[in-house]
Symmetry: C2
Subunit: 320 residues, 2 copies
């Protein structure tokens, strides 16, 4: 029996794959060669996960990998109707990004509460101007997205004394259902978007929802860019409907140098880095090797995405 | 019996004093008139606490207030040998600044870990440059200063998963003594200075101590400016002995526009605001009124400064 074929969509070899030497035949593809190689692969590792290549190259009814792994939390760039309909198993990188993203969000909340952006601008101007910060303890946050990232964000904010409401698709213990979203937005000092990008969530943060928020509220998006109607957010900031925002994700990435988003007053722009901490590529490589060894042994998998919903469902999440 | 005289060093009336109407005769002084009025005051409220006026005007052996209150945590600007030697009681604002300062330090730690200053500079330049942040959980902090502020900082950093060592003057349960300072500096990812300014602590952060720190370490001062030899810190940053620093306090405040500190690479400069959150002046006014009512009733006082040591000692602190 010959070893399985692992097709890796990557310009450079991912770390840690050497551990599988002799047990798997590794082939590499780029966006151009992906379509021709996919039918011969048993497993696809989408190491370069920030393109639409898989969706465009997916073979439909033809021969295809039995397993696709993406070293990301969101799977929105991968899903096409044929992949959803197929029996191919899709896994994600649950476990790697949650805590780093939670720290990043806590950093943004504290920085906005203490006006660190204002401090750094005044420092650049060599101006001493005392201001009063806000207490973070005692404020209220609404976290949209009840997956592992949203719940990690909630945990870290709660450790800072913030009262947090988490909103998911459906109501369950400790999680608000979608029907509570609007009133919870209206009561939040901090609105954090950590939702998966699906047909149900695309464009959910629009003019109507920014209009519900308090004038003192700040909005943070660490989910996916298209969850937000960017023009509506810019208008909300310009009209002072809300007090500030931070975007780590955008409809179009990388953000073009001439994008209007770079210099909207009260908006912090960062380059999709909230989950990426030193060593993250090594951890993602290790995670894939661990999953591969389970797959090779025919054992059950963690991190299996419900392809119809577009994320790893809760019962899987709470299983470990 | 006529009501006692409360002398207030302030340009504008502090909030909440109205509650004492009819029970106290309130007089105001500025830096010029302070010396002539001090002998006739029963109580001195040093509302404008950022000057050396009290030290300069203190009447020595002559008639003097029986109680002096400063709405600040540090008392270094007030203490002169005659005040220390006198039987005048000195109280401070313990309880108001601790948690705000702890949040401020946590915000700086997270901002430096995630390179938020770099993100904001790149945003100004409209440049998308992905970088890797640091995890904060699992790092080590050494907090210098075992008073209520140092311990609040430790608690908040611990809530973020940081392993914290607190260093005080003398060893006691949960607190390292001064003999452990150097090895703890050498092992820290974050060094936070929250010590009182006394003869024993002045200039304690010098070239030798910056030289002990790891090249990856960051230094934060929320205590008093003269705890740090500023030139030595600048040299340590320029030589990359340490990775970064944030100063909220300075030898000379406000920092002059031509100070070299404004644009040292890796240094965040903020205008002595770490403890000041919206409503802080009201809280300080309330605190004084509460203390006044205890004094008026002849009841024991909290927040009494050990004038020889220069801070509220631990046994007082742990009493509540």
């Amino acid at each position: 029996m010959s070893e399985p074929t692992l097709l890796v969509l990557a310009a450079d070899p991912p770390p840690r794959l050497g551990k599988l030497t002799g047990r798997v035949r590794v082939q590499y593809a780029d966006e151009q060669s992906l379509a021709s190689r996919l039918p011969y692969a048993d497993v696809l590792l989408v190491w370069d996960f920030t393109s639409d290549a898989v969706r465009l190259a997916w073979p439909g009814e033809g021969p295809r990998p039995r397993w696709v792994h993406t070293p990301s939390a969101g799977v929105d760039r991968l899903l096409c109707p044929e992949l959803v309909a197929s029996d191919t198993v899709l896994t994600n990188a649950r476990g790697v990004f949650e805590e780093p993203i939670a720290e990043y969000v806590a950093g943004l909340v504290l920085a906005m509460a203490k006006d660190l952006p204002g401090t750094m601008e005044l420092q650049r101007q060599r101006r001493w101007r005392h201001r009063e910060g806000l207490r973070v303890a005692g404020t209220r946050a609404t976290v949209v997205g009840a997956g592992p990232i949203g719940r990690a964000v909630a945990g870290t904010l709660e450790a800072l004394g913030v009262t947090v409401a988490v909103v998911g698709r459906t109501e369950r213990p400790g999680i608000h259902g979608a029907q509570d979203l609007d009133p919870l937005l209206a009561r939040a000092d901090w609105v954090v978007c950590a939702a998966p990008l699906t047909d149900a969530t695309r464009g959910m943060f629009d003019a109507r929802r920014f209009g519900l928020m308090q004038p003192s509220a700040r909005f943070i998006n660490v989910g996916r860019g298209p969850l937000v109607l960017e023009d509506d957010l810019v208008a909300a900031l310009n009209k002072r409907w809300i007090a500030g925002a931070a975007l780590d994700v955008f409809v179009s990435e990388p953000l073009a140098p001439d994008s209007a988003l770079w210099d909207v007053p009260g908006l912090i722009v960062s380059p999709h880095m909230s989950g990426d901490t030193v060593g993250w590529r090594d951890r993602l490589g290790e995670q894939f090797v661990d999953l591969y060894e389970l797959w090779e042994a025919g054992k059950p998998f963690p991190n299996v995405v419900d392809k119809k919903r577009g994320y790893v469902p809760m019962h899987d999440v709470s299983a470990d």
